[in-house]
């Protein structure tokens, strides 16, 4: 019986975490747009506007290009499924998530990569120039992001002696000095660069443009409509919230539930949402003052991220 109760608690934790990320994602988009509008002197749409958009999209008809195959329809589903799967087992609101023992940072990153790859395949399946353009550009950026990301994880994992995500968060809670160590700071700054690039934010990609020559992510999803487009918006925003959630929990872990208990978990959840909201507002403010970079200047930015991560790894080894 006790085991059953434990199991049900774990399921509940997973469901709540996924739900928080799924609703928080569109809300974060709305919040960031609101901040941006206000700073630009506009009133802007209400914060829950993306949620309304998604609801509207789910009521619309799905269409697919004539020559596309099943991959086109599968891509949005896989995209959302990857984020749901990792959000359920990651230390977002609590340091003891379900299956926390096997929630490995590398595994999480590669599962998320699966989502991006399938989306890029779906874009190529449209058989249009835009799909290919977006797919090619996002894969180029992804290929250059991956070194920075993996080495950043390695830098954090070396000092914690494990790449287990909950353990990485717990190390920060138990020894705050670890967070202030150069290794983790360098690694997290590199991680931030990767988050901005992977989720198509400025200065890598402008999420509010539909200009053919510059768009990356929007070009990929141009052919999607109805529920598929809704899923993509939800999936992408969930991914942003999830990655920011990991970032803030690795940077300022305080508030996250360390012990079992409903109260601790609720505090952890609110702390997470508050921290992610602050991070989102900061990114939005940053975006107002930033212009999009040229595509072929991006390797410099991402190489910078990679060098930061490598420095982090080297200092982590030296510090031991």
């Amino acid at each position: 019986m006790n085991q059953f109760a434990h199991f049900m608690t774990q399921v509940l934790v997973a469901v709540v975490q996924v739900f928080a990320v799924a609703v928080g994602g569109p809300l974060l988009l709305g919040l960031m747009r609101k901040v941006r509008s206000r700073l630009e002197g506009r009133v802007g749409a209400p914060i829950h506007q993306p949620l309304l958009d998604v609801r509207k999209l789910f009521a619309k008809q799905r269409m697919r290009p004539r020559e596309s195959s099943w991959v086109f329809g599968a891509a949005p589903v896989v995209l959302v499924a990857t984020v749901v799967a990792v959000a359920a087992v990651s230390p977002l609101a609590t340091t003891h998530p379900p299956l926390g023992q096997s929630s490995d940072f590398f595994a999480v990153v590669f599962v998320l990569l699966l989502g991006s790859v399938v989306l890029a395949l779906g874009a190529l399946d449209t058989g249009t120039a835009f799909g290919g353009m977006g797919s090619s550009r996002s894969m180029t950026i992804g290929a250059l992001c991956e070194p920075a990301l993996l080495v950043a994880i390695l830098a954090m994992a070396i000092s914690a002696r494990t790449s287990n995500l909950p353990a990485l968060v717990r190390v920060g809670l138990a020894h705050p000095a670890v967070i202030a160590s150069p290794a983790r700071i360098l690694a997290l700054s590199s991680f931030l660069v990767v988050i901005l690039a992977e989720s198509g934010r400025l200065p890598v990609d402008n999420p509010s443009t539909h200009l053919e020559l510059t768009m990356i992510h929007e070009a990929m999803v141009l052919e999607y409509s109805g529920a598929d487009l809704g899923l993509i918006i939800v999936g992408e925003s969930m991914r942003l919230v999830f990655l920011l959630g990991l970032l803030v929990n690795l940077l300022v872990p305080w508030g996250v539930a360390e012990r079992p208990g409903v109260l601790f978990f609720c505090v952890g959840l609110f702390a997470l949402l508050a921290k992610v909201a602050v991070a989102g507002v900061m990114i939005a403010i940053f975006e107002v003052f930033t212009a999009k970079m040229r595509l072929f200047r991006l390797p410099e930015l991402l190489a910078g991220g990679f060098v930061l991560a490598l420095l982090g790894a080297v200092t982590a080894v030296v510090a031991r």
Binding site: A85, V111, T140
Partner: protein, 673 residues
């Protein structure tokens, strides 16, 4: 009793070769395939026996090879190499049943194929220098015959075979030199003699032997810069042969390095393993870069083989480095990772090459820029390729991910405990690993997306049909194995650990445990591949249900409606407007411009009447192998120049030749005295 296995492997192979050469065209492929299967099954039986018990199969006879005799021993290390070879061989030969009608049913091919498989299977059995070299040479020659299959129709196949013949024999010469040197100093040509004496040799001899072996075996594994033959030969070989070469033969290059470096010489100083790591880093980066920018389907796969062999070499090098600096746990993890990467690579690269062969059969081309839309026309082949591509891109839940994860864990836990040199090289290895990972993903999104998705870019691709059922089953079996090994890596891990222990000459110690979640023993690292996959699948199911409910509740239109894609207001959209493989890889080509240095050529011809109107634009770009262009071509040109000079020595005059003989004799006499 177990000797029966060995005899069966050899006998079935030889019988297959004879029948394949002798029978009429209607039955020769069937007979050859049946006997190859017998050979594979026997080898598999031997390998499983060795791996499941501590029994070692040995056999020695002087009846076959004169002077030296044949010595056969199968230990766990050899057995772990036999298993993927026999699995890939079974799948590829079954596939061959359907492929044979497309130009692979000649006497020479039907006779070479069983011999090729058998010699590959027997190389890990060899336990003396002579046996090893004979089998190695047989493997090289039979595969050369297979590469030459299409030579009457394609000039490229002939040139590829030339490159292959020269490189493989240069490699064989290096191996011969290494092994002969070793046996001369060790005073015996069986591997057990060498093993017993190798530790007492001088470090100069050991170092020379290792470097020579690394060069020879590295060229077989396609390690950069000895890889130039690989993208040519693997691309030109017909479907099943290319799967065998890329999925099975390259492994034996890795086997040779482990055999000489770890078993015969019993490990070595740090600089050996640094050399291996550097070779691995170069191969991985170079292979991934060329795979990402190549637009020939099979050439892309071949470069990716170089890339994967590079990863295996990195893991081997890391294992040696950790071992040399006294960290047996991480050394064991890295060795297990190397062998797991090898097994996984065989499975997914076999599937990919078989699928590429099916595409070539169905469309007559390998040029990605002329393909497209095949997922609808060849659904099974398309799915096989997609699964293989996701595996090679190390994405869960497929098998490539497990090996990569294990390697990352080995590097992560080994890094903090090592000396400066090791730290520098391992950091470089991790950076390489990460960059090649990203490039590989781009390469395989391109191969799958351009080749199989979207609209067909040529009439041939439009008219493509799914291939014969045997071809689909052969390729599909390997793709299914990709998923199975990705979900339950414990199916092979215990065997691999036993082999790794035998290679490192330590008592079998377990590195990993757990069927559902994979635990690294003694370290904090856990991965639950099957739970991860179950989570993904159930999440996808929930999403699909939500999408359907939302739709059903809201309207009565058809769920999915095929329409013309949006063309910026244009009504007409042609397949030529799509991105091609060349355009897909262009951003990466531009980023790595300094490394690849592609040649670009733009011709604009104007109308005679007015220079403001353009008549034609011709744009040519080629990114042929930069190492071939800058090292091999000048070298070949130099050799040719000396050859031309040497011709003047020969003018047909017998008196002059006699004078040469006399002068040479005098020189020899002077030198001897």
């Amino acid at each position: 009793m177990n000797d029966v296995y060995v005899v069966a492997v050899g006998l079935a192979g030889v019988m297959g070769a004879i029948l394949g050469g002798a029978l009429p065209v209607s039955s020769r492929v069937g007979a050859a395939v049946a006997l190859t299967w017998v050979s594979c099954a026997a080898a598999l039986g031997a390998a499983v026996t060795v791996l499941s018990s501590d029994h070692v199969i040995t056999l020695s006879t002087s009846a076959i090879l004169p002077l030296t005799g044949v010595t056969i021993t199968l230990d766990p290390l050899g057995a772990i190499f036999v298993i993927p070879i026999s699995i890939v061989a079974m799948a590829s030969t079954f596939y061959w049943l359907g492929y044979a009608g497309h130009g692979l049913s000649s006497r020479s091919a039907s006779s070479a194929m069983p011999l090729f498989v058998t010699s590959m299977l027997l190389v890990p059995f060899a336990a003396s220098v002579a046996t090893f070299l004979v089998l190695w040479e047989m493997m090289a020659l039979t595969s050369l015959v297979l590469v030459l299959t299409d030579q009457s129709r394609r000039e490229a196949a002939r040139s590829a075979a030339q490159w292959y013949a020269v490189m493989t024999h240069a490699g064989a010469a290096a191996i011969l030199l290494a092994l002969v040197l070793l046996s001369a100093h060790a005073g015996g040509q069986t591997f057990s003699d060498i093993e017993a004496h190798a530790r007492h040799l001088s470090s100069a001899v050991r170092g020379t032997v290792f470097v020579l072996a690394l060069l020879g075996f590295g060229s077989k594994a396609g390690a950069v810069p000895l890889h130039v033959w690989l993208p040519k030969a693997h691309a030109e070989a017909p479907g099943p042969a290319s799967a065998l070469m890329s999925g099975a033969m390259v492994n034996l290059g890795i086997y040779g390095i482990v055999l000489v470096g770890n078993r015969l010489l019993g490990g070595g100083p740090v600089w050996w393993w640094l050399l291996v790591s550097v070779l691995g880093v170069m191969s991985a980066l170079y292979g991934a870069l060329y795979a990402a920018t190549s637009s020939d389907l099979k050439r892309l796969l071949a470069y990716s083989t170089s890339d994967n062999m590079g990863l295996i070499l990195i893991a081997l090098g890391a294992s040696g480095l950790f071992g040399a600096s006294g960290h047996p746990t991480t050394a064991a993890i890295a060795m297990v990772a190397a062998l797991l990467l090898m097994v996984n690579h065989s499975v997914f690269k076999g599937a990919l090459f078989l699928a590429a062969g099916a595409v070539q059969v169905a469309t007559g081309t390998r040029d990605l820029d002329r393909l497209g839309g095949l997922m609808r026309r060849m659904p099974v082949t398309g799915i096989v390729f997609l699964v293989g591509a996701l595996s090679v891109a190390v994405l869960p839940p497929f098998n490539g991910f497990i090996g990569e994860w294990l390697l990352l864990q080995g590097l992560l836990h080994g890094l903090p405990t090592s000396n400066t040199w090791v730290v520098i090289s391992i950091s470089a290895a991790v950076a390489t690993l990460a960059l090649t990972g990203g490039l590989t993903v781009a390469a395989f999104v391109k191969a799958t997306g351009i080749g199989f998705l979207g609209r067909p870019r040529s009439d041939e691709a439009t008219a493509a049909h799914e291939v014969a059922i045997t071809m689909r089953v052969g390729a599909g079996a390997l793709a299914a194995l990709c998923l199975v090994l990705g979900l339950v890596p414990m199916l092979v891990l215990p065997a691999i650990e036993r082999a790794a222990a035998s290679a490192r000459q330590v008592n079998a110690s377990s590195v990993t445990s757990g069927w559902v979640s994979l635990h690294l023993l003694g370290l904090r690292g856990v991965l639950a591949p099957s739970l991860l996959a179950a989570g993904l699948a159930s999440a996808a199911l929930v999403v699909i249900v939500i999408r359907r409910i939302a739709h059903r509740r809201r309207n009565a239109w058809p769920a999915v409606n095929p329409v013309e894609p949006w063309g910026s207001g244009r009504k007409l959209q042609t397949a030529r407007m799509q991105y091609t493989a060349t355009s897909f890889g262009e951003p990466l080509l531009r980023v790595f411009d300094d490394v690849i240095r592609p040649s670009r050529d733009l011709d604009v011809s104007h109308l005679v009447e007015s220079r403001y109107y353009i008549e034609r634009i011709a744009y040519r770009t080629s990114n042929d192998d930069v190492i071939e262009r800058h090292f091999y071509r000048p070298f070949i040109a130099g050799v040719r120049w000396w050859g031309q000079r040497a011709r003047s020595l020969q003018n047909g005059s017998v008196r002059r030749y006699l004078a040469y003989g006399f002068v040479a004799l005098v020189i020899v006499l002077v030198a001897v005295t």
